[in-house]
Amino acid sequence: MKLKLPVSIIIAIFLLALPLLFKQDVIHYLNLIFFFTALTAAWNIISGFGGQLSLGHSAFFAVGAYTSTLLYMDLGVTPWIGMIIGGLLAIPVAFLIGYPTFRLRGSYFVLATLALAEVVRRLLVYFKEVTRGSVGIPMPFTGSPKNLQFPNESGYYYLFIVFAFLTLYIGWRVRYGRIGYFLLAIREDEEAAESLGVSIRRCKLFAFYISAFFTAIIGTIYSQWASYIDPDAVCSIELSVQIALAGILGGMGTVWGPLAGAAILIVSQVLGLSFTGGLIGGVYMLYGLLLIVTILLRPQGVIGLFEQGIRGVFKLFLRRSTGSVTN
């Protein structure tokens, strides 16, 4: 979907003006949408474009959240630097499971990601002296942007929107860059791609590094936003599943899919909460159903529908306007 410049500017102004129109609690949900957009866009780089399904991205999220938080709390390093360090630390973690699995076909990668998240969570609980264990780490609220904190949700809104569009842009660069075409070739036919000199493992590892790096950075932002982290909150299977669900709902391997998927995820969460009245597990039951139904009925995700719809509206509009000129 290519957007014309004027349309993009109108959308940008609209997005930037949104916090002025709504109350803080509405902006909180918008933040959630852009938070998941950023996470899903990062996930999409390896799972969508790379074709390697990950159900353990919370592991990288946790690496980012814990690295920056511990640096901030124990050494006073600002999370702006901590988030880069966290992102860089996520890369060897990605290597740990990417290297052995990327030359294998089948379900090895997804199993390894799941197991990795479980291991990271248990290690975070185990090394109490460093991580405070399952008690978690509450953070003092300063509200100062110097510490990646903002006095209200609107501040975070701008932060999330920047990172959502940054990761979407990275995804776009990956998709339409050299690496994206390599990955596409690998997805289509591994042997053919390899015989033409594409190194499968290196391409997939590269995509995985980018994905892990940005997931960890979002983890840092989350830790400051929530101003509290514990192993169950940042390294849970639930978080990994939400990321994957948003990616699949939107459309794996599409540039704008993460945005659509994240929006559906949060809307269904809000609706699900009101339907089930906050019953434990109610929302996740709905997520499970959504995942099954999406795979059965529309495995390519909904973004195609959006594009058709928008294109249809544009066509209608254009036909009318051009019609008036010619007549």
Binding site: L53, L55, L96, I97, Y99, P100, T101, L104, G106, S107, Y108, V110, L111, A112, L114, A115, L116, E118, V119, R122, L123, V125, Y126, I237, V241, A244, I248, L279, I280, G281, G282, Y284, M285, Y287, G288, L289, L290, L291, I292, I295, L296, P299
Partner: protein, 291 residues
């Protein structure tokens, strides 16, 4: 010290029997029709609740509930196959798509159990739950011993079924080459359905044993699924004997690491073993087809 280690090895061996049994239920659908059943642990969890309620309301010993649960979960397995997997197999959906559908089912079942029964732990107290046999300087817990023997009997039954019955042989033929099997007159879609049903039935068969020494709660399934997959890959996809032996090995590793270090690190040890297998022996230690 040695006594403690040998004791831990024994406990792990006995526990590993159950791991092996539930991994066989995982390796069959995986080997025959490339279905990684991500909801396997959740079916174990549901069957554990089944055994618990049969004991709680009907005072049925968990061992006696095994045939009931096997029959019930075989039918449940067929139902879920028809509801979700039949379509995916028909359009030849990719393995990740199948896996995601089953992951969705896993999330659904887990939270369904949470909605119904809450997050509290339940404990089934059979007559022999607390008893133990003292054997020299070793203590053998009766429920673990019963589980081990039970898992061996059930594994033997699965092997007999695969090698001695028409359905079993047809199943193995389908695993080796679906087209050739179809040409030989095997109803392969039916085989797929039966295979999935048997997988779920085996999950249900492992559950009552688990209830005799393990508390029951909704989130118990996911670690079991993960351990199960590590075992399946270690044993070689589709290998029944491989799954059983790898189950014993993982049981021993878990038990020994729990004793020497701490239970939290047992998982890390299993993960390291998993990564090593992926690096050096990704096809597992036993053959490719069902043996």
């Amino acid at each position: 010290m040695e006594i403690f280690v040998i004791q831990a090895v024994l406990n792990g061996l006995f526990l590993g029997g159950i791991y092996g049994l539930l991994a066989i239920g995982l390796t069959l659908p995986f080997g025959v029709m490339d279905i990684p059943n991500f909801a396997h642990g959740e079916f174990v969890m549901l069957a554990m609740y089944g055994a618990y309620f049969l004991w709680h309301y009907a005072h049925l010993d968990p061992l006696l509930s095994i045939p009931i649960l096997i029959a019930a979960f075989f039918i449940i397995g067929l139902a879920f196959y028809n509801a979700i997997l039949r379509r995916l197999i028909a359009v030849n959906a990719s393995t990740p798509a199948r896996l995601l559908a089953l992951a969705g089912l896993s999330i659904f079942l887990l939270n369904f159990a949470m909605c119904l029964w809450g997050t509290s732990h339940r404990m089934l107290k059979a007559d022999y739950t607390m008893s133990a046999i003292i054997f020299g300087s070793f203590v053998i817990r009766v429920p673990l011993l019963v589980s081990f023997v039970g898992s061996m009997i059930l594994t033997a039954l699965v092997m007999l079924f695969l090698h001695k019955t028409y359905t079993g042989k047809a199943l193995m033929a389908t695993a080796q080459d679906p087209e050739a099997a179809t040409l030989m007159g095997v109803n392969t879609p039916r085989m797929y359905m039966i295979c999935f049903g048997i997988g779920i039935a085996l999950a249900a068969a492992a559950a009552p044993f688990l209830t005799t020494f393990q508390v029951i709660f909704p989130t118990i399934g996911m670690p079991l699924t993960l351990a199960g997959f590590v075992i399946v890959i270690m044993g070689g996809l589709g290998s029944v004997i491989g799954a059983y032996i790898a189950g014993l090995v993982i049981g021993i590793i878990e038990s020994v690491v729990s004793l020497l270090l701490t239970p939290e690190l047992a998982w890390v040890a299993i993960f390291i073993v998993f990564v090593l297998i992926l690096l050096f022996k990704p096809k597992g230690f036993f053959g490719k087809w069902i043996k």
